[in-house]
Symmetry: C2
DNA sequence: GCTGCATGTAAGCAACTCCTTAATTAATGA
DNA sequence: TCATTAATTAAGGAGTTGCTTACATGCAGC
């Protein structure tokens, strides 16, 4: 009984690849089929399929089937948590909100890691 | 002639591990020795050393030696780029600034991925 | 039904990740 | 000098990633 990585790790890991980031960037233009998405990449279709699976596992895209096309849609919710983590760790805010942050964290019993 | 992963990928990859995120969180309290850093983890010292190497490679920490101690210091600059990428891809801003963004991107000739 | 198109799954492979234990380096202090 | 302390390096193993090619699935139109 082994549990997989936590949600935040899945998101960061999904973002840790230029191809996947480019896919997400392209999806900002609106829902897109896998074929359109794969077209600009010098990479086989199955490779793109696998990248999409990683993005889907992280909750960053949604795939809906209609006829023989799979339409991919960007889902930005998981980025909120990622953004919150990054913002909490950068710049001048840290020193100022460190104590409050710590307080809230221990109150909620989360690990913050 | 193979080039390593780009800077942004290194940062996201470094963040894609709970142990490393926890290390960064702990470093917000100020510079810390490897020993102090390793103490709360159920993991061998070499494992921590290797995590620190990943963080260093991503530019997220700096290690300075004094006597037999290595002091680790948080460096937040790489998070700025990560933050910029995430913010550009989330929320309502996307639709509004998509065109401008695309315009700037193509003008500068960057890939944005 | 069969054919073609869009996509996914399977299997395989090199490279990498994340951990381990054992050995090594380097500084401290009696 | 020698033992102790702090940390890294080395070697190795189980599992994962990121690609490949080959095969399978599933829908559309004839």
């Amino acid at each position: 009984m082994q549990q997989g990585p936590d949600e935040l790790s899945l998101v960061f890991q999904a973002l840790a690849d230029p191809t996947r980031r480019e896919i997400l960037s392209r999806l900002r233009g609106g829902p897109t089929t896998v074929g359109e998405l794969a077209e600009p990449f010098a990479m086989s279709r199955p490779a793109i399929s696998q990248h999409l699976k990683v993005l889907e596992r992280a909750g960053l895209i949604e795939r809906t089937a209609s006829a023989q096309w799979r339409t991919c849609t960007l889902r930005t919710e998981p980025l909120d948590e990622a953004s919150a983590w990054v913002e909490r760790h950068r710049g001048e805010w840290n020193a100022r909100f460190d104590q409050l942050d710590e307080h809230l964290r221990t109150r909620k019993g989360t690990t913050d890691a």
